[in-house]
């Protein structure tokens, strides 16, 4: 039913959307691999592969999930994920519809942890253009187990991050947020609709480590921020998000949803002018 509706919606969209899009969506996902380099003076890179060996920046510590969890992870994976991602996690499910789902080999533990921990995976509707955040079906330990197993197929980066927010500079974070994040997530962090039914989610309710994972792995249509942001800069952004965005200083009163001047206009017209007109109704006469 949903596919018929979305096909209907796609129909007129084809007039406006280039035909390349539908296929590039899947083409990109089957070849996805993390090849970024964090901007840190202590980073060590394997010169042959260009893959990071160690980060060295103390602002965020990255830890690979223990390999001993892999066996449990495989069992969980076969139970919850293989129906779409395939038993080899390569995006080819058993019914042979190859290439329709993302290839998870080599995406790195942080990617797995992000999607499972935010409840987006296992997907509620595998055919939806974007999975919604919801209450996670698998807990943190289970997410790590799955991440451990998938990582064991082809170890990659980034690992599970732990940001250390104590020395973060919230002002630098605000500036970086405004330049890099506000274009999609809005300056207030409420998120908004994007092209073709995708959307940038609200940032009001996500834990700090998930912010790091999203920034470093670029889930879905979100771009990946790798070498151009150091761990210190990412930590500053996380500090800003977990303080100002999630606990805004609405010193002026009710925040009106952070929707901007349109909301203010409605309040000004309906409550302001409307109330005053009603009061004018009392002050004046009815004849």
């Amino acid at each position: 039913m949903l596919s018929i509706v979305s096909m209907f919606a796609m129909g007129p969209l084809v007039l406006f959307v280039g035909s390349a899009n539908a296929s590039s969506h899947t083409a990109d996902q089957t070849t996805r691999k993390n090849s970024g380099t964090p901007n840190s003076s202590d980073v060590t890179i394997n010169p042959k592969t260009g893959v990071v060996i160690s980060y060295g920046d103390s602002a965020i510590t990255y830890n690979a999930p223990s390999t001993s969890l892999a066996k449990l992870g495989q069992a969980l994976f076969l139970q919850n994920c293989a129906s779409c991602h395939g038993t080899a996690a390569n995006g080819v499910p058993a019914d042979g519809t190859g290439g329709a789902y993302p290839n998870l080999v080599g995406v790195g533990p942080a990617t797995i942890d992000f999607w499972v921990d935010s409840g987006r995976m296992p997907a509620a509707d595998p055919r939806a253009i974007q999975a919604n955040r919801r209450a996670p079906r698998l807990n943190k330990k289970q997410a790590l187990e799955i991440a451990s197993w998938v990582n064991s197929l082809d170890p990659s980066y980034p690992d599970i991050p732990t940001p250390h927010l104590k020395d973060a500079n919230v002002s630098d974070g605000a500036a970086l947020f405004a330049l890099n994040c506000a274009a999609c997530h809005t300056i207030e962090g409420d998120g908004d609709a994007l092209a073709q039914g995708t959307y940038a989610p609200s940032l009001r309710n996500i834990p700090a480590f998930e912010v790091v994972e999203a920034i470093r792995t670029g889930p879905g249509n979100m771009p990946r921020f790798t070498g151009n942001l150091s761990d210190k800069q990412v930590r500053d952004v996380v500090k800003y998000v977990t303080t100002e965005i999630q606990h805004p200083q609405n010193t002026g009163g009710l925040g009106l949803g952070g929707l901007g001047p349109v909301a203010e206009g409605f309040v000004g017209l309906l409550i302001g002018v409307g109330l005053l007109a009603l009061l004018g109704f009392w002050v004046g006469e009815r004849q």
């Binding site: 899009n21 996902q29 380099t37 500036a175 330049l179 890099n180 771009p223």
Partner: protein, 312 residues
């Protein structure tokens, strides 16, 4: 009709009895209404004084507004109620005078202008013409400082940016971008080296750098060398109204402008496929130098940003 004085009030009307119904309060129970109004006045006074107190102790901003607002509001309610319910209820009437004067006065007015003015102009046509011409020319010339002194001529300013052959692409901190920095699906805003905090660098030179593959990427014919190692650079100024096109959807490979949702396809030279933007985002030709830094081959091949008359 009785005689009226020249303001429309009948002179024979010496006065109105104080018992006249027109002068009575509108309220059925004026005493009760007076008490209610007194209460609102007291409430207003208390709140207004409360504003003073809140200010004195530097209380939260909302208390200042609540006390001031409530105080003014209740004082206002009381005053309106006084006028509406306790003051003479009327209704009263006044006559409208015809605004137009008598025909005699109108003729006199017209005669003054037409005959006197006409006699002057008829007899001194040339002088009148010269004066009119002079004042008209002054009006035109007076506009010159009001407009031209305000700012410089545009000349070629809108046609070029500061990107040149070999300019390093740097991010907002001034750090040069290296070929190994961005993963596929990554984005960074870049500026010509040295210009990242200047007005012009931000407003005109701003460029969005995305990496859409690990190999050279060709967006259009003639741009075979522009996308080294999969790096593509487009002007960040939307061709609609100049907003920064900072919204990048890596799977859909669209750059979306947040202002009015123009969508540009990064794989074919940022051709707009939806929304009000009329032209593709100009693409900046890049190359990677021997040390791995991303640099521009030359300036954009067309003016960046929204359209204007001189843009060919």
């Amino acid at each position: 009709m009785s005689e009226h004085d020249d303001h429309g009030t009948p002179v024979s009307l010496k006065g109105l009895s104080a018992n006249d119904p027109h002068l009575q309060p509108a309220a059925r129970n004026p005493v009760l209404v007076e008490r209610v109004i007194a209460v609102t006045f007291v409430l207003g006074i208390v709140l207004v004084v409360g504003f003073g107190a809140c200010y004195w102790v530097n209380a939260a901003p909302w208390t200042l507004g609540a006390t001031m607002g409530g105080g003014l509001f209740f004082l206002g309610v009381g005053l309106v109620a006084w006028g509406k319910y306790l003051m003479p209820k009327g209704p009263f009437v006044e006559e409208r005078h015809v605004l137009a004067n008598t025909d005699q006065d109108r003729d006199a007015f017209a005669a003054a202008i037409v005959e006197r003015g006409g006699s002057v102009i008829k007899r001194r046509k040339m002088l009148g013409g010269l004066l009119g011409g002079g004042l008209g020319l002054f009006g035109v010339v007076a506009l010159f400082p009001l407009l031209r002194s305000l700012g410089p001529l545009p000349k070629g300013t809108l046609f070029h940016t500061d990107w040149r052959s070999g300019t390093y692409a740097v991010d907002i901190t001034g750090r040069r971008v290296q070929v190994g920095d961005l993963a596929v699906g990554s984005i960074v805003t870049v500026y010509p080296e040295g210009r990242q905090t200047s007005d012009r660098g931000q407003a005109v030179d701003q460029t969005v750098l995305v990496r859409i593959s690990n190999e050279n990427f060709v967006t259009q014919k003639g741009r075979e060398t522009w996308g080294p190692h999969g790096y593509l650079a487009y002007s960040k100024l939307c061709t609609h109204l100049g907003c920064p096109v900072g919204l990048y959807e890596q799977e859909l490979q669209l750059l979306v402008c947040p202002c009015h949702q123009s969508m540009f396809n990064v794989t074919n030279g940022a051709i707009p496929q939806f929304g009000p933007a009329p032209r593709p985002l100009p693409q900046l030709p890049l190359y990677v130098d021997a040390s791995g830094y991303i640099r521009s081959q030359k300036d954009y091949d067309q003016p960046v940003g929204p359209g204007f008359w001189e843009r060919s």
